[in-house]
């Protein structure tokens, strides 16, 4: 960790700038399409960080799934709904909200930053047991093997649980997209 080369620093900071710049762009752009493209930049930056940490498989998945599939889906929805134009977000019903939000976020950032700086040594006392030794064996597939062992070993319950989460998502979609015919009995709450 301490003998990081100059090049590693350059890569890290370049990727960090990509991530943060993209994240600010998502929030700041007025045009939803631009915001979605800002998200692509962030996700690419994360992929670069994965490569820098030698987690090549995760980097590939990051690009294919997030930057490739999910953001394209975002863009599809944006186009389909026809909201691909700039909108004026400066109208604010509660005037105190924005300054308060700014104060809160700066405070939170300072707190978390201080916590990380203060306890940067803690990471060496309790190092994580993730896939950090992926390249130690010198095997090209070590990355995927370790990931699979983790996923189907220690975390197999969490892995299976995500399928329940997907069931909820599918059932929810069925429910929310169902057409309510005009002739159906008027549900009670609507009268109020």
């Amino acid at each position: 960790m301490n003998d990081a080369t100059f090049l590693e620093y350059v890569v890290f900071f370049a990727a960090a700038v990509m991530i943060l710049g993209g994240a600010v762009g998502v929030v700041a752009f007025r045009n939803p399409v631009h915001a979605a493209l800002g998200l692509v930049l962030t996700l690419f930056g994360v992929a670069v960080q994965f490569v820098a940490m030698e987690a090549h498989f995760l980097a590939a998945v990051q690009i294919i799934v997030y930057a490739g599939a999910i953001v394209v889906l975002f863009l599809f929805v944006i186009m389909l709904l026809g909201v691909d134009r700039s909108i004026d977000l400066s109208i604010e019903p509660l005037n105190v909200q924005r300054p308060l939000a700014a104060i809160m976020s700066v405070g939170l950032l300072a707190l978390i930053g201080a916590a990380i700086v203060q306890s940067r040594d803690a990471l060496e006392i309790n190092p994580g047991t993730g896939v950090d030794t992926a390249t130690a064996t010198g095997d090209n597939d070590a990355n995927i093997n370790q990931l699979a062992t983790n996923l189907f070993g220690d975390h197999v319950f969490a892995f299976q649980l995500t399928s329940v989460l997907l069931i909820v998502a599918v059932v929810g979609t069925v429910l929310m997209t169902r057409k309510w015919p005009k002739g159906a009995e008027e549900p009670v709450e609507d009268v109020a």
């Binding site: 990380i116 040594d121 070993g153 319950f157 969490a158 909820v168 059932v171 429910l175």
Partner: protein, 504 residues
């Protein structure tokens, strides 16, 4: 590479120990599958299938309970799930709540396009998420349970597509809930950074090992703070309560009953898991935070409820003040967290959750009946003169309200007495006194509703109030339980006393 496949040994899975959870998920899947392949089922059969599934899961949990009390708690599937009486108690609670809510939902859904297996499948999967939250022995598993429960609730809250308020409540809950989940996840990441693991058992060991090393633990403390934000949102503690009144009011009444019982119980179980079981090492750091959350929830919940004019909003604020009482119990558990004698805080919270779930479902069942009759109006005016039109319903409603106020000979008294006693046991007198004062303030709200129910004369719209059989049975059952548990509480107290033998 194929050789390596042979060397991989997966974790051992005790399928039978997981059976309550499997029953809930399998029931939901079977309902969806059978519902898609067959024509519309006769009236009430969907609800019956849902209630049967939940009943099976609850019965299986009782079988596991016996196993645990005989052989002691343990962990399952590579330490991901805790197999202890604590998780089984919450499982039984959730299953009972699902049965009651399914009986309420049946009549509510008839004649709408929602009368199909979907709502019931969502109730079951949400229940499974709650069970996972209560039995998680790994923060990642806990987060997945939280998301399963939350996603199902967002959809359920918005499920009445004809009502703008229902849609509004769904989207509000979704946006704020997503925000809170992000906080929770960030908290997990920071705690992982500080301890090197997300597994609760390993976390406890890692934290104990750092005692002598004078480790700067800002990372872990920041993580605990963010975890508290996420959990505080889910239990609706002030200042993370803003969503509660709007969501409770806008969501369909059966869903509101589900939120107030299952979601609250699961969130408090998760809170106890994370704070008392996983992080007793930091108990002196998180306990003051819980103290302040309890104080604010008690006062804001009871005072603001007084000025509401809508009964659903009143009950929403009263649920916030009940969250305050539960936090008093969590605070009491915090004094002795991690010690050999765990104190009475945890069992008091569990008892409170069980009793509160039943009375709150009963309350919302009455609201459902009145609201349907009044054409969607849940303001206090709709309840005027209920006693003259439906004396039985009015009597049951009075029982629920008295129980929520904590009047002796109802279950609410036992519940409130339990948490206050737990607080006094650990010399936490200040919060115990504040809790009692706020109970007096909150009693005013319940008295106001009762007065309207019993003294007013009904409006000219005096056609009889229709009470569907299943809803009537639910109200009667909940009222009988509320009185029975209030008069003979011994068996429940004995059961909750054993939940402190947790696994990790």
């Amino acid at each position: 590479m194929l050789a390596q496949v042979d060397t991989f040994v997966g974790p051992e899975v005790n399928w039978f120990a997981l059976s309550p959870l499997i029953a809930l998920v399998a029931g939901a899947l079977l309902m969806m599958l059978a519902g898609a392949l067959t024509p519309r089922w006769p009236n009430g059969l969907y609800a019956l299938a849902c209630a049967t599934t939940a009943g099976t899961a609850g019965a299986l949990a009782m079988v596991q309970w016996d196993d645990i009390t005989d052989n002691g708690p343990t962990t399952l599937v590579a330490g991901a799930v805790a197999f202890d009486t604590f998780s089984m108690f919450v499982t039984i609670l959730i299953c009972v709540s699902i049965i009651l809510v399914a009986m309420l939902a049946d009549d509510y859904l008839r004649g709408t396009p929602n009368d199909g297996p979907e709502i019931y499948a969502l109730l079951l999967t949400a229940g499974a998420g709650g069970v996972v939250m209560a039995s998680a022995n790994d923060l990642i598993v806990l987060f997945l349970g939280l998301e399963t429960l939350s996603l199902a609730l967002y959809v359920l809250a918005a499920s009445n597509r004809r009502s703008n308020r229902s849609g509004e409540s769904g989207i509000k809950y979704f946006v704020l809930g997503g925000f809170a989940s992000a906080f929770f996840l960030y908290g997990i990441a920071l705690v992982y950074g500080a301890t090197g693991t997300t597994n609760i058992s390993e976390m406890v060991v890692a934290l104990q090992n750092t005692v002598d090393l004078e480790t700067p633990d800002g990372l872990a403390l920041a993580g605990v703070a963010l975890l508290l934000v996420g959990l505080g949102f889910k239990v609706a503690a002030v200042p993370f309560h803003i969503w509660t009144p709007d969501v409770y009011q806008g969501a369909p009444s059966p869903v509101t009953a589900f939120m107030a019982s299952v979601a609250k119980a699961a969130a408090f179980a998760a809170m106890l898991r994370v704070l008392v079981i996983a992080l007793p090492f930091y108990r002196d750091d998180w306990r003051p935070v819980i103290w302040v959350l309890a104080l604010l929830s008690l006062l804001v919940g009871s005072v603001v409820a007084v000025v509401q004019t809508d009964v659903k909003r009143m009950l929403a604020y009263s649920s916030i003040s009940h969250a305050g009482f539960l936090l008093v119990g969590v605070e009491a558990a915090g004094h002795t967290a991690g010690e050999l004698d765990p104190g009475s805080g945890m069992s008091a919270v569990m008892l409170y959750l069980m009793l509160y779930s039943v009375m709150v479902i009963g309350s919302f069942a009455v609201v459902l009946v009145v609201q349907r009759h009044a054409g969607g109006d849940s303001s206090i005016e709709a309840f005027r003169g209920l006693s003259m039109r439906r004396p039985a319903i009015a009597t049951a409603f009075t029982v629920f309200l008295l129980a929520q106020a904590g009047v002796p000979f109802t279950s609410g008294f036992i519940a409130k007495f339990g948490v206050i006693q737990a607080a006094v046991d650990v010399d936490s007198y200040a919060i115990a006194v504040i809790a009692m004062v706020s109970a007096v303030i909150a009693a005013f709200v319940y008295l106001r509703i009762m007065l309207t129910v019993w003294t007013g004369t009904p409006a000219e719209n005096s056609e009889p109030i229709r009470v569907p059989l299943a809803v009537g049975v639910t109200i009667a059952g909940a009222a009988v339980f509320t009185l029975f548990a209030g008069i003979i509480p011994g068996w429940l107290i004995d059961a909750t006393d054993t939940v402190t033998q947790y696994a990790r």
